[in-house]
């Protein structure tokens, strides 16, 4: 069985406005507004319109950011929040 891969909508499916350090996001396909705190916007950016395994995603995060608490369970928790609201899709 292959590892689960995750994908977020392309950038043009989202409207994002930064307000006081948080991000208000309008998701065009659902018509829903979400408030995002870091690291959710960063994850959406990395996964925008391309599928990645969790390991690949963590690797990308570590390359791009100084991740102080890189742990699989924390990343899983963040991904599952995004999956629950439909912003990330697991294949």
């Amino acid at each position: 069985m292959t590892a689960t891969r995750y994908r977020a909508p392309p950038a043009d499916a989202l409207l994002i406005r930064e307000l006081d350090g948080l991000f208000a996001l309008y998701h065009r396909p659902s018509g829903t507004t979400h408030l995002l705190a870091s690291p959710a916007p960063e994850l959406l950016d990395l996964l925008a319109d391309r599928a990645m395994t969790r390991d690949a995603l963590l690797d990308q995060l570590l390359r791009r950011y100084d991740v102080t608490d890189a742990a699989d369970d924390l990343l899983d928790a963040r991904l599952s929040e995004l999956i629950a609201v439909g912003l990330v899709y697991a294949t």
Partner: protein, 280 residues
């Protein structure tokens, strides 16, 4: 009968001729549109309820399944609620904020809060001090321009506010006192002729206030994200407007300063609002 409040035309029909006559008198200064945007029905809850303990149902183009009927003596409240419901559920040209609003020099203060926060009273009292009263229930944000439009229907004063306003505006055109409604005692006050005559003039939002009555005097800055979330919950059609609503609301909270104010009495509140206005 039909009348227009701001950009919204209503047609109101009822089994009770007396109720229509009262509405006709109160809304005499409002223009009568040929074609109404919404229809409001205030029928008797059953045929015999026209005569025997007469009871008014709240119906129209948009209805709530559990809306409770009211005794005929509170028919004006039934009309008010039915009108609110049509706008809240049906109007999409503007982003609706459940708020009161006053204007001066083309710039508006938007005051929003839960029922009992004093937003009606504050807007009414400011209206008596040289401000233009724009509404005490809804303020309408144009998603294209960010301007706000007025919805100056009859002001719905509740409980202690009735005495306060009667004292402040002794010459006001008041409706009958409705006692012991589910919202307490209610008395309607018609906006001034000037407020009605100028109801189609938009204004630029300049200050967002979240008043709370009861606590001791306090002013706090409200960050844009908190204002955004609070206004999504104060809007009856934010979600329904989709992307337009998102943009309009994000623009509003980015551009307009927001403050929460706690106040112990009306005089203090008026002083606080006018001081904030000078500083804004």
């Amino acid at each position: 009968m039909s009348f227009r409040v701001g950009p919204v035309g209503f047609r109101v029909g009822s089994d009770f001729a007396a109720l229509i006559a009262t509405l006709r008198a109160l809304y005499a200064d409002y223009p009568g549109p040929e074609i109404a945007h919404f229809t409001v029905r205030l029928p008797a809850t059953a045929p015999w309820r026209r005569f025997l303990r007469p009871s008014v149902a709240i119906e129209g183009d948009y209805m709530l399944p559990d809306a409770a009927p009211l005794p005929l003596a509170q028919g004006l409240l039934a009309a008010e609620m039915a009108m609110n419901l049509q706008v809240a559920l049906g109007h999409r040209r503007h982003l609706l904020l459940h708020a009161s609003c006053v204007e001066r020099d083309g710039r508006a203060i938007i005051m929003t809060g839960e029922s009992g926060a004093g937003k009606s009273t504050l807007a009414t009292l400011l209206g008596a001090r040289g401000w233009r009263f724009m509404g005490d229930e809804f303020v309408l944000v144009d998603p294209m321009t960010g301007d706000v439009y007025a919805f100056p229907r009859a002001i719905s004063l509740k409980n202690e506010a009735i005495g306060v306003v009667q004292h402040a505006i002794p010459g006001g055109r008041f409706g009958p006192l409705l006692r012991n409604t589910p919202k307490g005692d209610i008395r309607h006050l018609m906006p001034t002729p000037d407020a009605i005559a100028r109801m189609d003039e938009p204004a630029r939002p300049a200050l967002l206030l979240f008043p709370a009555f009861g606590a001791s005097r306090d002013v706090r800055e409200v960050g844009s994200v908190e204002a955004f979330v609070r206004l999504t919950q104060a809007s009856t059609n934010y979600t329904a407007l989709g992307e337009r609503g998102f943009d309009a609301l994000a623009d509003l909270v980015e551009r307009v300063p927001a403050r929460a104010i706690d106040y112990p009495d009306g005089q203090t509140a008026l002083a606080m609002v006018e001081a904030l206005w000078e500083a804004a």
